[in-house]
Symmetry: C2
Subunit: 141 residues, 2 copies
DNA sequence: TAAAGTGTATTAATGTATTAATACAATAAT
DNA sequence: ATTATTGTATTAATACATTAATACACTTTA
């Protein structure tokens, strides 16, 4: 069951819809949800997570705006198979911005470029193997 | 003048104190502000930026809590010279978390590990040279 | 010691975000 | 066609964040 991949904590301080968005992104990035997969209906997932359907709807719709999902009224919500909405150059700029912010933070935490390079390598490899693992499988178990 | 390194936009949607925090971090990470340097008094910087002194005070105090600055009542606020407050392991975990978030975002934007590796290398090098440049200089011009 | 310069704390005004309740609209199934 | 299923839009209640006004406390300097 795909539900088991999600867990919301109302007392964490992090908004429910943001927690869900984050976990949905993880599920897609990690291969648990694959392009074309259908997500649970808003009411169903909302019931399973004990939140208002609007909360799930907001997570879905924001992820649609960000190009990760695709919602069709009356049909359902799906993981987008095609390229995201943004163009190649725009996406690159966005990722660059993210990387720059990490670098600034890390330098302020007194990390050296060499240490950072090592840490980055570690994490990238970890995600690569995770993506590899989730390659052959199908469906939402 | 150090003031020239800061610019706040009240209509950007981003809170003023966050804009200032970000720019202060950049100034330190990039070597414009060096350990031991004194920052402008809250009232003075506030006047220069046309905001309430509390806004500057908040930026300063949060950066103090984060270990980047050090404020002393009656004396002023300075760039912290010593190691940050967090321990080595804690800092590593924090940076790892930041990196992971970038990776998730990037994968969802359909970047491949190879592309990411390249982009990361570019940005890291860019910051390295920037840090190098700001090494010999002294004071706030 | 008085005055000026500095960061800090308290309170209030205002805007924004979050969540829920409810009704609407489009599609699919019968 | 009718009903069930699905996403969407509107509104309201509530809490939180942001900024400003103002007074306070500590340090330096004359």
């Amino acid at each position: 069951m795909i539900y088991n991949w999600f867990y919301l904590n109302p007392r964490s301080g992090v908004p429910l819809y943001l927690q869900l968005k984050e976990q949905l992104k993880m599920a897609v990035a990690g291969g648990v949800l694959k392009p074309g997969d259908r997500l649970p209906p808003v009411r169903e997932l909302a019931a399973a997570l004990s939140v208002n359907p609007n909360t799930v709807a907001r997570a879905y719709s924001e992820l649609e705006r960000e190009g990760l999902l695709s919602s069709e009224q009356g049909r359902g919500t799906f993981v987008r198979a095609a390229e995201p909405l943004l163009g190649r150059e725009e996406r690159k700029i966005q990722v660059q911005g993210l990387i720059d912010r990490v670098l600034v933070e890390a330098f302020n935490l007194r990390f050296t470029p060499v240490e950072l390079q090592e840490l980055w390598g570690e994490r990238l490899k970890a995600w690569e193997t995770r993506l590899q693992r989730g390659k052959g499988e199908k469906g939402n178990e």
